[in-house]
Assembly symmetry: C2
Homo-oligomer: 383 residues x 2
Amino acid sequence: MKNIAILGSTGSIGENALNIIESEPDRFRVVALAARTNVEKLAAQIEKFHPKLVSVADAQKAQELRSMVKRRVRIVTGAQGAIECATHPDADIVVAAMVGAAGLPPTHAAVCAGKQVALANKETLVIAGGIVMQEARRSKAVIIPVDSEHSAVFQALRGEKKKSVRRLILTASGGPFLGMSSVQMSKVTVERALKHPNWSMGPKISIDSATMMNKGLEVIEARWLFNMPPSMIEVVVHPQSIVHSMVEFHDSSVIAQMGPPDMRSPISFALNYPDRLAMDIPRLDFSRLMTLTFEPPDLTRFPCLALAYQATQAGPSAPAVLSAANEVAVEAFLNRKIGFLDIPRMVEKTLNESPNFPVNTIADVLAVDHWARARARELIGRR
Amino acid sequence: MKNIAILGSTGSIGENALNIIESEPDRFRVVALAARTNVEKLAAQIEKFHPKLVSVADAQKAQELRSMVKRRVRIVTGAQGAIECATHPDADIVVAAMVGAAGLPPTHAAVCAGKQVALANKETLVIAGGIVMQEARRSKAVIIPVDSEHSAVFQALRGEKKKSVRRLILTASGGPFLGMSSVQMSKVTVERALKHPNWSMGPKISIDSATMMNKGLEVIEARWLFNMPPSMIEVVVHPQSIVHSMVEFHDSSVIAQMGPPDMRSPISFALNYPDRLAMDIPRLDFSRLMTLTFEPPDLTRFPCLALAYQATQAGPSAPAVLSAANEVAVEAFLNRKIGFLDIPRMVEKTLNESPNFPVNTIADVLAVDHWARARARELIGRR
């Protein structure tokens, strides 16, 4: 029996994790749930899964939740509450699926506590990879990625030695604008940009997929997660999203992890690791013609990918600037304040104006995040 | 330092293995070489690799070899000589690359002696899989396949548990006649049949690839090597021969092993196992558009594949009958005595006329092989 804490239980990763937990009551038990504001959904989850501890954004949400829940459950609030969930002494596995920089402190806390962390929060490794992985080595926390690409690399590396690796090859769908010229891209609407060909995702990540910043952030994550220099991490465009990523070894053998695009697959892998549980997930269908294509990414038309490589090779604070500026720019695009191609422009400007900040602690990282958000907002407002 | 014995050192697998050994003099040393009749090549190998023991077909070949070699080396002959090479007390790894049923006794002997066996001889598992694998369990011999498909499955299973496997998916190029109708196939010449699109191989295996019997034999081998029922082994046509095979697990995740088609890759893997050595083997090139296709095999146009499934699900002697009858039929086709589509017809006839023989020993298996060859020759002569 494994005890699970879920940070971000009302989001899509959190809900999928709970579905898997529900289908395996002999294997999993929920001990803690953290959400921000969706107390209706959280209340229903409490009634169903009986956690000992839940966390919400603030005292008002806690009061609302209290009025909805009949069961006895401890309710905590704020950043400290999320950290309490992440470090609950009974929790064996922490699903770190809170969105944004707010997910960093509790995820970091889970790593410090030596938990097995099913990692879905992007910011943890993008903006604080060096700090978090150093901590994981100390605490012996096992970090299992929940992103399909990193899960694929993790699976391809099973039973292999790290010194045998020549390169990691992250696949990218290329997003909805793969074949589009820069001129066409300059005119795309929010609605077009939100339509991802293979995956159904939230608006922020859908836009990141359309700009390919998503893949750039994944390169930075992979760098830390697998302890590889960025020069050993390549991106290849694979529009069908069947091969989720690959590892090439020194003997030129390539191991790939494949499957129909389904978010439950890497979540199930992370929860059941080191086992593989029978899952009712669609299978690859080889009874019909299947065509897979691979091509190099076009860094001219997708400058966000190049910016991410530059940021992770620049000073240690640059990825945090990149990530924060991108979040602000994507929000501005979604609010129709800037065009699609202004996203990389704004990120690049913010990066160019950024000094090299020291990043020795999580507080340092959050200060950089703050600075970059403010600077990006200013740059966007000035246009 | 690993000591290597090579059975079939003058064939293409043997020569490739020696090339790898030559490039890593600090890692490998040759202790024994077995060949049948190519004494010129064997003499050159002796001068270069200094084995302690060599084996040739008979006393006359031994005399010829003796006259060519200046170095002191023990020369043995016949089936017993090959077995002596296979069980040389200094040998850590035995490369079992003799062709045909003659390769079975020495390979079996290496397994009985608990050697690490780099297995390239098809007959070992096709006709005697049950006996050999039982012996391997007893002697703790590790069998590493050298066939690209089985090597791919072996690699995909690294670090995984066998109980997690849902199915093995062997890829097949489909050979040179993939898109051809049965009518067209009935008229193909030997020259056309020998032209394989991706691999450069000997005539027997090239024809087996054109009929897809090759893939059928590989299904039978995989059954024994990975201890899986034939119903868990699927074949999918993949004309580009980049994905060498795949394993699907119960969570619907598929692990594939990929690479440019190059025989040295699985040989190097088997010799270096459990390590992966840096090899000067061409890399998958993702800098250009790459298209991979997969489609189900057509068992009507390629009846040999269906015959192999039937044989391995029938009595324990049927695969030996299948393999022997196929060898005779392919030889008759190569000698222009029968047409291309007569190959499956002759195999099916021989299978249909075959009683269920007992197969408890290697001698039993060789007796079945004998019976089937004679019967197939008779059936072909009678036409």
